[in-house]
Every structure is written in structure tokens, then in C-alpha cells.
């Protein structure tokens, strides 16, 4: 098995491109998401993206705010108690970004269908309502008939719907811990990351921690994302910040509001990027930017005990740097 460690710059350069179908996950509005990866996409100027995300998060909020998103498929686009996603909503109401709405359940089922390589997924939800009748892709017709077409159960004759399966070109998936081969452990809800990791054509993991494979061999039932489906592993501490990562850090309440407020306008977004996206290149510069005081506060999470069993396998920054060098080798 190959050492798949890669710098975030190299991973974004290699696995993203203008016009691509990009999927990020968990795509929780407040918890785990591969946000650091999306920020690097902003830095590298990606545009015209077709984004598939189970929910909105600070990642797609930012990508849409900078005008990089042509189209988005989503179950929930807000930031939960942190409010409506101002950047995404601005792009949608201005007509810049086409939004195709589903429910959260539907998005998960569609990843499942993609992982199975089914041509469609039976739909008992999202039918008989405007998620079936309104189509961002086919706006001229109401009710739309091609978005969630009807099918008939051959056993009972019951009418139901059919979802399009999802097979995104690349998924950037946040995990709590990964080894250098791409075996990964998620703490907290998986959301749809298990299915997403099998549905995507290429998978990049963005991991808060790199651990020794010994951790996987002690806890193989926790390893839900497997090296066999992973193309690259990016180490990025606090990679979900300002969102949370279960076991490691809480969401940054202050910054969540601040960032989302900035996304309200193009100017605010530019200013935000100048201050919070552009200034760093390395993980340590990133951590310096967030600041030790803030980090101390965020990492004093009530969930920290969930990490206890795994601490002994965590690679130090120096070890990760060496492993990254070896991977470049």
C-alpha cells in the first residue's frame, strides 16, 4: 500500500479543476467538514464548480461567496443556529448559482445509489411536493417531471419516485484520523461520509490527525473509510475550523458569526479572504493565525475523552513532515 500523504496545495492542484463536480463532506453545517480544502481551492482560484454537498457548510458558503460555484445540489443550505448561509444565498438569489434542492435523507440515499452504481434510487421521500416539482436544472417546466421521475413498484403497483444516483468526480472528506495509506476513523456522526467515500470517483481525505496503522489494526471496526478507495491524504490540523470536529475541537462561535456576516457582500468576502484565507501556507502558519488562545479554548471540548483511546498512535508534526517527505520521495 502506497503512502498517500500530500500537501494541501498539491492535493488541490491535482484533484480539483475548473468546471469539476466537487463533493465535500461530512458537509455538516456546524461539525466535521473538509473546510481547509475548500479554502485552498479559493486560493488556487477554482471556478465554475458543480458542488454536491449533503448540507451546506462554511465551505460551500465561502466557495459560493467568492463566486466559484455554478451549481449546487444540497439537502440543507443553512448553518443551523448560526443562521442562513449568506454567501450561498447571495449567489442563489442573484441567479449566479443554480441550486437543486433535495432533502437530507435523499442526499444520503443518492450517495448510496452512487456507491452501488445503481442507475437510480427508489424515492419514497421528496415526492408529491416541490422538491419533485421544482428543478433548478430544468426551470422552465412546473411541475418538473425529469428531476424525480415516477416509477412503479413491480410487486404492488405502488407509484414512487426515482432519484438520480450521485457519483461525484472528487470528494474531499474530513476525517478525525487517517493513516498514511488512507484508512480513516471518524468520531461523531458519519453523516454520509461512508457512502460518499465509495460513491466518489476520487477521494481525498483531510485529516485532523495522522495516526499509525497500528491504530487501525486495534480498531478495525472503526475504520469505515478504507485505503482501497482513497487517492490522497492531507494532514491539516483544525481542518474543520471554524466548525467543530468531534473529540478534538468545538465550533468557533464568534468566528462562525463573523465569517458568515462577511459572506453577505462581495466586499466582506474579499476582506475575509485577505485576513483569514490568504495569509497562511503551512499548518503552523494556519494555527498561528487562529491563535493559541482561541485554539486552547476550542480544544477544551467536552468530547475530548473520545480521543483518549487513540492518542498513543498520533504522529507528531515532525513525524508527519517526515512521512510527507517520504511520500514525495
Amino acid at each position: 500500500m502506497r503512502n498517500k500523504l500530500m500537501s494541501i496545495q498539491d492535493a488541490v492542484a491535482k484533484y480539483t479543476w475548473d468546471g469539476m463536480t466537487y463533493c465535500h463532506g461530512a458537509a455538516f453545517p456546524v461539525g466535521s467538514d473538509s473546510i481547509a480544502f475548500g479554502k485552498e481551492m479559493v486560493k488556487q482560484g477554482r471556478k465554475d464548480l458543480n458542488v454536491i454537498c449533503h448540507c451546506g457548510s462554511s465551505q460551500v458558503n465561502l466557495l459560493a461567496a467568492v463566486g466559484a460555484v455554478r451549481r449546487v445540489e444540497v439537502g440543507f443550505s443553512g448553518l443551523e443556529v448560526y443562521g442562513f448561509a449568506n454567501g450561498l444565498n447571495r449567489a442563489v438569489t442573484s441567479g449566479q448559482t443554480i441550486i437543486e434542492d433535495y432533502s437530507n435523507g435523499a442526499m444520503a440515499f443518492r450517495f448510496f445509489g452512487g456507491a452501488m452504481n445503481w442507475p437510480f434510487v427508489p424515492a419514497t421521500v421528496n415526492i408529491c411536493n416541490d422538491q419533485q416539482w421544482c428543478s433548478g436544472d430544468d426551470p422552465g417546466v412546473y411541475p418538473a417531471t425529469g428531476k424525480i421521475p415516477t416509477i412503479t413498484d413491480p410487486f404492488t403497483g405502488q407509484t414512487l419516485g426515482a432519484f438520480r444516483s450521485l457519483r461525484p468526480e472528487v470528494a474531499a472528506i474530513h476525517v478525525t484520523m487517517a493513516d498514511i495509506y488512507g484508512n480513516a476513523i471518524m468520531l461523531g456522526s458519519e453523516w454520509s461520509r461512508f457512502e460518499m467515500s465509495r460513491a466518489a470517483q476520487k477521494v481525498v481525505l483531510v485529516a485532523d490527525k495522522i495516526v499509525d496503522t497500528g491504530c487501525m489494526r486495534q480498531y478495525p471496526n472503526l475504520v469505515r473509510i478504507i485505503a482501497e478507495v482513497v487517492d490522497a491524504v492531507v494532514w491539516w490540523p483544525l481542518c474543520s475550523w471554524p466548525q467543530a470536529s468531534c473529540g478534538l475541537y468545538d465550533s468557533d462561535e464568534e468566528h462562525m458569526f463573523y465569517m458568515n456576516k462577511a459572506m453577505k457582500t462581495a466586499e466582506g468576502t474579499e476582506d475575509y479572504c485577505r485576513k483569514w484565507v490568504e495569509p497562511y501556507t503551512t499548518p503552523s502558519e494556519y494555527l498561528d493565525l487562529i491563535g493559541p488562545e482561541k485554539i486552547a479554548k476550542l480544544t477544551a471540548t467536552e468530547t475530548a475523552f473520545l480521543m483518549d483511546p487513540y492518542r498513543k498512535w498520533i504522529k507528531s508534526d515532525v513525524e508527519v513532515a517526515e512521512l510527507l517527505d517520504q511520500a514525495k520521495g
Binding site: E80, S135, E190, S192, C246, S251
Partner: protein, 263 residues
């Protein structure tokens, strides 16, 4: 004891939650109502979230999201969306739920997707909304699948309207047996709990009528705040005041007082 409308609404919603129910909760008022019920009168309630977080209670205040660490610190299981929204909710297994609404109509259809100048159903085509909201999230799966569920909404005329701009989560659609004809496994909304009172669906027409009002409101205020010709139950009642114990319990759940600050 003084209380806010939001607190009262959460208490009244909590009263609709029975012990032993399997219930899916969202952030904010939904979790507040659910965990209040668990603390107050439903110790065997089985709450879970869309992400598949089971067996937990909030720590350090109401969660910022269903995946906030405040709800993840004492869980007995973390699974995933397919489990929670598919196996337990869309399947018809879940007993109860609490969802919110930006708009709700006479048949309990809920809009959380957007506000239009002219909605798609009237325009005959889909245009981007004037105001984008959040989309349905898991509420559509709940609306279709849960055995029954509760809708919470702020009682204003612009929100309680005859026909919502966009049906994000279907209630009884056009009323009558429209819902059954769609083959939905769940029973539909059992009540709309507003900031002013409780509306329930007519057993036959499925149009929501006023069943009870809060002591600080009135039948007239509620009818004035409702965008359809709101029928009133012949034995319309005043909703019992929150007890001291109920207020203590709801504030135990809302430990940071987020709901006390509001309206």
C-alpha cells in the same frame, strides 16, 4: 414566574411528546421541546438526530447544530444519515418529531426553502427565490415518514398562509386523502404549535383549526394572524399556563438561556 413566548411554545410542544416515543429532534426549539419532555414527563423518550446521534443529552447548552459537540459528548451511538433519516424515519418507524416552518399553510404543508415574489406553482415555472432559506433538511423525510410530527412556527399572517410558496415538507397537501394518494408511510402533522396557540387537523378535511390558545392571546388575535379562514373548535380552550416545574425544567435544558433572550 415570567416566561417568553418561545419558552411557552417549547413547553406546549413538549407536552405533545409522550413517554417511550422514538423521536427525531432538530436544533433550537425542537431539541428544547424534546429534551424538556424527557426531563419533565417522558424519561424513556428516545431522542435522536438526523446524523444518527443516539442516547445523548445536551451538555453546556443547546447545540448549535445536530452535530455540535454539545450533543456528542455523551452519546451511546453515532451512526449516519441513512440510518437516522432512512432506516428510522423515512421507513415509518419513528413515532414523533418536531420541525420548524418559515411558512405553513392550512393543510400543514411547510416551506423552509425560499420566499418568492410569485411562487413557482403560480408562475408555472421555477425561478430563484427572492429570499433563499435553508431547504428542507431532514424535515421532508420526517414529514413523509414519521408516524406523526409537530410543527412549530411563529404565528404571523405572512407565515400562516393559505398556500405556501414552496412545499418543502408535505403536510396534508390539498387536504382530504391527498396524502394517502401519494403513498406516504407517515401519518402527517398532528399539530401546529405557534407562538399564540395550538392548531390541529380536521379528521376529514385535514384543514387546520384552532384547538386552543395561549392565555396572553385570543381567538380573534389568532384568526387575524392567520392567512386562511381559520375555523375554531366548538370547545376551544385556553392552554394551561406553564407550571413552575415546567419552567424550571425548560431552563435546565436551555442552560445558556438562549430562548429566554428572545421574544
Amino acid at each position: 414566574m415570567e416566561y417568553t413566548k418561545q419558552e411557552f411554545m417549547a413547553i406546549v410542544t413538549g407536552r405533545e411528546i409522550k413517554d417511550g416515543q422514538l423521536i427525531i429532534l432538530g436544533v433550537g426549539l425542537s431539541m428544547l421541546a424534546g429534551y424538556f419532555a424527557q426531563l419533565n414527563h417522558a424519561p424513556n423518550l428516545m431522542p435522536f438526530t438526523e446524523g444518527g446521534v443516539y442516547g445523548s443529552t445536551p451538555v453546556g447548552g443547546l447545540p448549535w447544530g445536530i452535530e455540535c459537540n454539545r450533543i456528542s459528548a455523551n452519546a451511546t451511538s453515532f451512526t449516519n444519515a441513512i440510518d437516522a433519516l432512512g432506516f428510522l424515519v423515512a421507513s415509518g418507524r419513528c413515532d414523533n418529531a418536531v420541525i420548524g416552518a418559515a411558512q405553513v399553510d392550512q393543510y400543514g404543508n411547510v416551506n423552509t426553502t425560499g420566499i418568492w415574489e410569485d411562487p413557482p406553482w403560480r408562475l408555472g415555472k421555477y425561478v430563484p427565490p427572492r429570499v433563499r432559506l435553508n431547504g428542507s433538511g431532514g424535515a421532508n423525510d420526517i414529514a413523509v415518514g414519521a408516524k406523526s410530527y409537530l410543527i412549530m412556527a411563529s404565528h404571523e399572517k405572512r407565515r400562516f398562509i393559505e398556500k405556501v410558496d414552496y412545499i418543502s415538507s408535505p403536510g396534508y397537501l390539498n387536504g382530504g386523502d391527498a396524502r394517502q394518494r401519494c403513498g406516504f408511510v407517515g401519518g402527517g402533522p398532528s399539530a401546529i404549535i405557534s407562538t399564540l396557540g395550538i392548531l390541529r387537523p380536521d379528521p376529514v378535511t385535514k384543514q387546520f383549526y384552532l384547538d386552543a390558545y395561549f392565555s396572553f392571546s385570543s381567538v380573534e388575535e389568532i384568526q387575524d394572524s392567520t392567512g386562511w379562514d381559520l375555523k375554531v373548535s366548538p370547545d376551544v380552550k385556553v392552554v394551561p399556563e406553564p407550571t413552575e416545574q415546567e419552567l424550571i425544567n425548560i431552563r435546565t435544558v436551555d442552560s445558556t438561556g438562549s430562548l429566554r433572550k428572545k421574544g
